[in-house]
């Protein structure tokens, strides 16, 4: 029996094991939505904005490692996903986005709700398709999932003209897919791996720099084994947090612009950087000319274009991180004598301990005003580190990276590359669908949360117990921080002036709202919020608006040129070191 394109599409999604599709209906996708009306195996989650849908699919993918799926209509529906697609592209998140399109005969006529979404998304997708014939549909969907998830993952968009989803044909599912021009390299070059292993064995002051590739590749175990076997300290990029346990004695936390003092010092003083699944982004390297000046650089990444894009590389290894690390461990175990490493690294690890002791991550605790770092710290304590943390972008994101310790991969979902405000909340919704029983918390700012606040409705209707901790300082905090530090305190358009009553907003949507105004309220309010299991919760933390993120490396400076919190004498004793 012949099926319509819409029916074939849903059959394809089932074959791919898709359970959740995030989307929003509209004219040219009505026939697809009509098929979904009777569908039992696939749930469409109706968001309140297509940007919410795409970020939710993204959060779903980041949390689960599966492909996130979104379905939107043509024109504005499609263009509303562009930010989310670019966001997923920068952070290598596997997505398949289906956009409706006007009928093929109308394409190019400036028809109602027509947009050249394939043209618009060409530079921010891994690949995209315009399906012109219903007979190509199944093959296209199969290829799209394959491309999205393999190699360096990324978003793929499929544009579906109305006549293609209405047209009928036999459904034939291609069991295998092979694209002659697309063959990602998984196995690293053995000779290169051997060279890398030799350098690691020889190095006196090595540092492992772990990035998102470790998490995507599922290589946390191998990374830990390498670090422990060779006694190498590990620093992580924002995307890499959780790839190595944050509480491990070899962990130095995050590096870069708001990285820890000891991470940045270790990198700048090391004689060997082992970059694993990283792309040496400018927020991590600072001034590239003076990045790790004394070090050789080993760079392991599945994407050859990442190598030598930003920094010089002495030993490139193109391949899947997990497979390369396995091979490397084999070589190292064959060659080295286990005991010698601890002796060789002793001085280096001692130096790092000293840096850790010299300048730990700190903030000035006050009794009358809530410090945002204190909120993050308390969330960590109360959840015992066992939560999926989403962030928005700006100060909230950096404090969430600094003061929450991630011991497992896929526990921090943050917009790293594109830096998209409004990402965290819908991403948290997506993550909650992937893990209904997990505790999912979005650490937000009052600016960011307003960028996709409409998704409260999505969370309420689906009874999602997502928690949103709003670090409310009435400012675009990171912008304000830069203006204070680099623009002579000229706070040009960074004061939000009117900030809604978030407790009332939450309640207006049928969610729960809490507020904390004093440090002593913080913990009890978090505990109360965690008790709510049947609806989303907003917690409005009125925090010190003057607080800044430290350490900070000014733009264009070397990463050891850090600025620290100013300490007044009397406040010195209150300075809290974070254990």
């Amino acid at each position: 029996m012949k099926k319509t394109g819409a029916e074939i599409l849903i059959e394809c999604l089932k074959k791919e094991g898709v359970k959740h599709v995030f989307g929003y209906p509209g004219g040219v996708v009505l026939n697809i939505f009509d098929v979904l009306y009777d569908e039992k195996d696939i749930k469409l989650i109706l968001t309140r904005h297509e940007q919410g849908a795409i970020h939710a699919a993204d959060g779903y993918a980041r949390a689960s490692g599966k492909v996130g799926v979104a379905l939107v209509t043509s024109g504005p529906g499609a263009t509303n996903t562009v930010t989310g697609i670019a966001n997923a592209s920068m952070d290598s998140v596997p997505l398949v986005v289906f956009s409706g399109q006007v009928p093929t005969m109308l394409i190019g006529n400036d028809a109602f709700q027509e947009a050249d979404i394939v043209g618009i998304t060409r530079p921010c997708t891994k690949y995209n398709y315009l399906v012109k014939d219903v007979n190509d549909l199944a093959q296209t969907v199969k290829e799209a999932f394959y491309i999205a998830l393999t190699g360096r993952p990324g978003p793929v968009l499929i544009d579906l003209p109305k006549d293609v989803t209405v047209g009928k044909t036999d459904f034939v599912w291609p069991e295998h897919v092979k694209i002659r021009s697309y063959n990602p390299t998984y196995e690293g070059n053995k000779w290169m791996i051997k060279q890398a292993a030799h350098e690691i064995a020889k190095a006196k002051k090595p540092v492992i720099m772990a990035g998102g590739g470790v998490i995507i590749s599922g290589a946390s175990k191998e990374l830990k084994e390498l670090a422990e076997l060779m006694h190498i300290p590990v620093t992580m990029t924002l995307m890499g947090l959780g790839g190595f346990p944050g509480t491990h004695s070899l962990s130095m936390g995050m590096l870069g612009m708001h990285g820890t003092y000891y991470s940045n010092m270790a990198v700048q003083n090391s004689d060997l950087i082992i970059g694993i699944g990283v792309r040496f982004d400018d927020r991590v390297t600072g001034k590239t000319a003076s990045f790790a000046p004394h070090a050789k650089i080993i760079h392991i990444d599945i994407d050859p274009t990442s190598i030598r894009k930003n920094v010089r590389v002495d030993i490139p290894v193109v391949g899947d991180v997990k497979s390369v690390l396995r091979e490397m461990l084999k070589v190292l175990k064959e060659e080295g004598v286990r005991e010698q490493w601890s002796a060789i690294r002793k001085a280096w690890l001692k130096q790092i301990e000293q840096w850790k002791h010299e300048r730990p991550l700190t903030y000035n605790y006050e009794e009358n005003v809530i410090k945002p770092q204190f909120v993050v710290e308390k969330i960590y304590e109360v959840t015992k580190g066992d939560a999926i943390i989403c962030t928005e972008v700006g100060q909230n994101q950096m404090w969430a990276a600094q003061f929450y310790k991630y011991d497992k991969p896929r526990r921090l979902l943050s917009s790293g590359g594109l830096g998209t405000m409004g990402f965290g909340f819908p991403a948290a919704i997506g993550a909650q669908f992937a893990y209904p029983d997990a505790l999912v918390i979005d650490i937000a700012g009052d600016g960011s949360i307003q960028m996709n606040i409409q998704e409260l409705a999505t969370a309420v209707i689906n009874k999602l117990p997502v928690k949103v901790a709003i670090l409310n300082n009435h400012y675009l905090g990171m912008v304000r921080q830069w203006q204070e530090m680099f623009f002579k305190e000229r706070y040009s358009y960074s004061n939000l002036d009117v900030v809604p009553d978030f407790v009332k907003v939450a309640e207006a949507y049928g969610a729960k709202g809490f507020r904390a105004t004093k440090p002593r309220d913080v913990e009890p309010v978090i505990r109360e919020a965690l008790k709510v299991k049947d609806r989303p919760v907003f917690i409005d933390f009125l925090v010190d608006w003057k607080e800044k993120v430290f350490p900070m490396v000014p733009a264009g400076a070397s990463i050891d040129e850090m600025i620290f919190e100013e300490k007044k004498e009397e406040e010195e004793k209150k300075l809290r070191a974070v254990k």
Partner: protein, 162 residues
């Protein structure tokens, strides 16, 4: 340094845009670009002439290879090869110069492909040096129109990478 890069691609709509978008999006420069089908109508070959230091050229070839529709990338800088370009020039020489123009065409082994009362259209094929020399010599006679195909290149048989 100038590089001639040959890119074998799937002959699908949108591929040219992916390639040109890669160059414009990343701030690389295209000096010339020529595209045509190969013997296999499913595959096209693009010959791109671009400029950049080693790091930029390395990025260009890697980024090209990363595109899903790209089957193969060859940078001819390492390969002994033949390069050709064709130009069509419409000149309107003064009456007393017409003979001289025809001689020039002959010297460059060009052809007159069209001639009118006051103009000749000349076809010249060759490598960059020859084309440039011809342009230099023909310019004083009065060029009315000028088009060039962009370079195409092919490796010499039996030569190895240098």
């Amino acid at each position: 340094m100038r590089h001639t890069i040959s890119v074998l691609v799937e002959n699908k709509f949108g591929v040219l845009s992916r390639i040109s978008g890669l160059f414009s999006g990343r701030g690389y420069n295209i000096e010339s670009l020529s595209v045509g089908e190969t013997i296999d109508p499913k595959i096209s070959v693009m010959t791109i002439v671009t400029k950049g230091d080693d790091q930029i050229i390395e990025q260009i070839t890697k980024q090209l290879n990363k595109l899903i529709d790209v089957i193969k990338v060859v940078d001819f800088i390492e390969i002994d090869h033949v390069e050709r370009e064709m130009v069509l020039v419409k000149v309107a020489p003064k009456k007393e110069n017409r003979i001289e123009v025809l001689k020039l065409v002959e010297i460059f082994r060009g052809r007159i492909v069209d001639s009118g009362a006051a103009t000749f259209t000349i076809e010249i094929t060759g490598d960059e040096g020859k084309i440039n020399a011809f342009i230099e010599l023909i310019t004083p006679f009065g060029i009315k129109e000028f088009v060039r195909t962009g370079k195409v290149a092919i490796a010499r048989e039996g030569t190895k990478r240098q």
